[in-house]
């Protein structure tokens, strides 16, 4: 590069015209704009992400005290460090082979190395997931690291290759002629010359690993959520400026890290002592990460797998204090994700929180352990209507945790008419200010209600009618959404939203002008249950925890925190009055209007085509 640069005195004034400069500046502004925007809005006092209402540091407080965030950062660092190390070694080997030897199949090897760079990430991720399931490798740190190494390899090899091609072959010959053996030659001659390239390759691999989302999504397991996965679940299932605060912190740390790495790279060339010191520090960090992630193994534990924010943290703290059992929480975003993790046969959960249709599925596959009710005396407080239900007729395998429904959340300052029917979501006067859930089952259910048919009949012609209803509604919608609903509603961008009861009530508590209605045609009800997997290793602890959680005092406390109703009449009586009144429209709803949806089985395929047609055309 150096040679060509000096020749560019540019007497021709090539590439110096004004419009070129303007285009370049415009392009750079486009590329860089998101960074200051993210940073500025992290100081937003408002709960909505788009509306600026004043300066505040509150979101930094929230971010810094978020345990989930710190766990995910630790996991990401650990995975990035391990995968970068392995891929640097393997990539260097590949590069050495490619420069030094001509062999049959060289082109094939080269392509094998290169193609992962351009393979769509989603295919990369799911093909690896299929492999891991097949060879029964537990999804977790090991599987993520293997996946990351595979896509990092090509980049490492390319960077090292570039350096090796400029390497003077005579140096190696001289060393060998002077009597050094191959290992010594590598250690004393080749390695010092390519070391800077190895360092940049390792850094690059590290950053690729830290940033990867798609491949990690498909290969991560129960306790291995990484930072990008944490960010994704925030973006998808509820955005607040906390995300901006997290991003700002990340930007600051990466810039510091980069500056540090640049200094380090300079220093490495100069001082071998420093090199050793850095190696020691690196090793120490690795050791620390390994030990912290292996720790807490021998202690009494309970591995709880739950939705994020779906249990009052105080209850867990009190349970730990009272029993000395350490509760390890990990999180999933949907029933299907839980199911996927469970069927991969590599799970290590003691307590899970599936919805009814999923409980049914798990019972069918013999994946749940029967509950030993003698260990759960507090079960007597539960409403029997929720214990013997269609998905578990004997009530052997589940303890009902909460129930709720979807319904209509609306801004009562704008919507003056009473909200009693699904039909209001089809009212043209609110065009462009309505959102529907980005959820196949729920939204098709709403379409069925509008068309006057029942989703549970699993009838193809009925579903077509629901499709027509939803297609008619589509021009009126702002979007199908699950994560931005609260922000959109508070900022006024939307006024009517199809939403879950719990999130709705939590919002209503802080903003009284937001109301939640259950349409009279009926809503899809869900019952989320506490279940113990058949292979749980801490069944006693799980039952102890269930008993603690469903005692009326703790249940009341939990309801006040998460705003989902628990089927426990005594506990509801203990809930603070203002929350109790809010819950009443669900508690006192006509039982026939709350419809429990079972697993559609084969019918899923039909629903999938209809949903695809709706969402893609």
């Amino acid at each position: 590069m150096a040679a060509t640069n000096t020749s560019r005195a540019n007497d021709l004034r090539v590439g110096s015209s004004l419009w070129l400069k303007m285009l370049t500046v415009a392009g750079l502004v486009f590329l860089l704009l998101p960074l200051p925007v993210l940073i500025v809005y992290s100081f937003n006092a408002d709960r909505t992400v788009t509306h600026w209402s004043g300066f505040s540091l509150a979101w930094y407080g929230a971010a810094l005290t978020n345990q989930q965030l710190w766990l995910s950062i630790r996991n990401s660092l650990f995975i990035a460090l391990c995968s970068a190390t392995v891929s640097t070694i393997l990539g260097t080997l590949a590069a050495l082979v490619l420069t030094k030897y001509r062999f049959r199949g060289r082109t094939l090897f080269q392509n094998l190395l290169y193609i992962p760079v351009v393979l769509p990430e989603i295919i990369f991720g799911l093909s690896l997931m299929i492999l891991f399931i097949m060879i029964r490798l537990p999804l977790g740190f090991v599987s993520i690291i293997c996946a990351h190494v595979t896509f990092q390899l090509a980049f490492v090899a390319l960077i090292v290759l570039a350096r090796l091609y400029r390497f003077n072959q005579h140096l190696e010959d001289a060393s060998l002629d002077l009597g050094a053996n191959r290992l010594q030659t590598f250690y004393y001659v080749i390695f010092p010359i390519i070391a800077p390239a190895l360092f940049s390759a390792g850094m690059f691999a590290f950053m690729l690993s830290m940033d990867d989302f798609v491949i990690t999504l498909f290969t991560s397991g129960a306790h291995s959520a990484t930072l990008p996965l944490f960010i994704y679940s925030k973006v998808k299932y509820g955005v607040t400026p906390e995300l901006n605060a997290v991003s700002t912190l990340l930007i600051v740390f990466t810039i510091l890290g980069l500056a540090g790495a640049a200094l380090l790279q300079k220093a490495m060339v100069i001082s071998p002592l420093l090199k050793r010191v850095m190696a020691c520090i690196g090793g120490a960090i690795l050791l620390l990460l390994v030990t912290t992630s292996l720790m807490s193994r021998d202690q009494e534990v309970l591995n709880l797998y739950n939705y994020a924010g779906y249990i009052c943290p105080g209850i867990i703290a009190d349970f730990e204090k009272e029993t000395g059992i350490k509760v390890n929480q990990s999180y999933y975003n949907s029933n299907e994700e839980l199911f996927a993790r469970m069927t991969m046969g590599a799970s290590d959960y003691d307590l899970i929180v599936p919805s009814g249709f999923m409980v049914q599925n798990l019972i069918k596959l013999n994946m749940l352990a029967p509950i030993r009710f003698e260990n759960i005396p507090n079960a007597r407080f539960l409403d029997p209507a929720f214990c013997q239900v269609s998905f578990d007729p004997e009530g052997q395998y589940h303890i009902p945790y909460t129930y709720g429904s979807s319904g209509i959340l609306y801004n009562s300052n704008v919507i003056k008419e009473p909200v009693v029917s699904w039909s209001i979501l089809w009212d043209p006067q609110y065009k462009g200010r309505i959102t529907m859930l980005d959820d196949m089952r729920e939204t098709l259910f709403a379409g069925c209600k509008r068309a006057g048919v029942r989703l549970q009949d699993w009838n193809v012609a009925d579903l077509e009618r629901a499709y027509l209803a939803l297609a008619e509604q589509k021009p009126l919608l702002l979007r199908y959404d699950s994560g931005m609903i609260e922000s959109l509603l508070l900022s006024g961008a939307s006024v009517l939203s199809h939403y879950w009861s719990g999130g709705a009530m939590r919002l209503q508590m802080q903003h009284p002008h937001i109301r939640f209605a259950i349409p009279r045609e009926g809503v899809a009800m869900f019952i989320d249950s506490l279940c113990i997997p058949a292979n749980a290793r801490h069944r006693d602890n799980a039952e102890r925890f269930i008993n603690f959680l469903i005692s009326p005092e703790q249940s009341a406390r939990n309801m006040e925190d998460i705003c989902y109703v628990m089927p426990n009449k005594t506990a509801i009586g203990l809930v603070k009055a203002e929350i109790r009144t809010m819950m009443e429209n669900l508690v006192n709803a006509d039982p026939t209007s709350l419809e429990l949806i079972e697993d559609p089985g084969e019918y899923n395929k039909t629903m999938d085509s209809v949903w695809t047609r709706l969402r893609s055309q």
Partner: protein, 284 residues
């Protein structure tokens, strides 16, 4: 030369790539011809049912739409990146390095976060609308978010560096003397561009096209964050087969078609511009 003795070095990376790359791709093919297990996963057997289902007009429409998105994104990205790369290639060294650093900077924050930041920029009460309303240029907020426009913004934004960097690498290698010679021999600027600059940048253009087109085809995150009611493309549908609809073989069949497409494009690319040959890499 001393060839034989270190041949064994190839074993670890080769083994790794076979196990974690080649075999998994083969498994996708295997899955795509297996019957569906409605509890997730597949049953033993052979069927072409999933490929037949792909011919359903619903899914053909999705392929068409994804293709339009990918082609348009690639074209616009190329149009934006070419002048920038051209400017960088002929700029003073310090300017060149500064621009390069600025192009690389956003890379160091998470892609999801950067995509999400466009929600703040494009929303009805977001940055652009607020500025335009305050300055009185518009009376009513513009609908910039949750539509096809926003999806394109997200795609172009995410892909611009991948187009820009190979273009820059190619143009940067073009010696100034060639341009001088062309001008001296009487060619005008346009002719010089068409006959000298454009052919010299061809490897960069080709690499950029590959780097932008294929990932856009499989992307599902951008439509999910910025898209409206009708912006679902192949990536979204594949991920739903695995994460929601529990139809793994159908998702695999869709993936297999994408892999075929990719292999065709890649082999064309490698055939004409070998990215790993010595000349290309040693000049980088």
């Amino acid at each position: 030369m001393r060839i034989r003795d270190f041949h064994i070095l190839i074993a670890p990376p080769l083994f790794w790539l076979l196990l974690f790359f080649a075999i998994p791709l083969g498994l996708i093919l295997l899955y795509s011809t297996s019957p569906q297990d409605i509890h997730g996963g597949v049953l033993p057997g052979f069927t072409l049912e999933h490929y037949r289902r792909l011919l359903d007009p619903v899914y053909v429409a999705v392929y068409t739409k994804s293709c339009i998105y990918a082609v348009t994104t690639t074209a616009i990205t190329l149009a934006i990146a070419y002048p920038m790369a051209y400017f960088m290639a002929f700029a003073r060294n310090s300017v060149k390095m500064a621009v390069l650093a600025m192009v690389m900077l956003p890379f160091w924050t998470n892609f999801l976060v950067r995509t999400y930041s466009f929600v703040i920029i494009l929303a009805q009460d977001g940055l652009i609308n607020t500025v335009l309303l305050k300055t009185g240029i518009i009376e009513e907020p513009l609908n910039l978010l949750y539509n096809t426009f926003a999806v394109y913004i997200g795609f172009i934004y995410g892909n611009l560096p991948f187009m820009l960097l190979p273009l820059f690498a190619a143009l940067d290698k073009l010696p100034q003397s060639h341009l001088e010679a062309s001008m001296d021999l009487g060619a005008g600027p346009l002719r010089t561009f068409l006959r000298i600059t454009l052919p010299a940048s061809a490897p960069g253009v080709a690499a950029g096209l590959i780097f932008v087109f294929i990932p856009t085809f499989g992307n599902f995150v951008v439509p999910e964050i910025l898209g409206g009611t009708e912006n679902m493309i192949i990536g979204n549908i594949i991920s739903r087969q695995f994460l929601e609809s529990r139809n793994w073989p159908f998702g695999s069949a869709m993936s297999a078609t994408l892999v075929m497409l990719m292999l065709v494009l890649i082999s064309i690319y490698i055939r004409f511009f070998d990215p790993m040959n010595k000349k290309n890499l040693s000049a980088a």
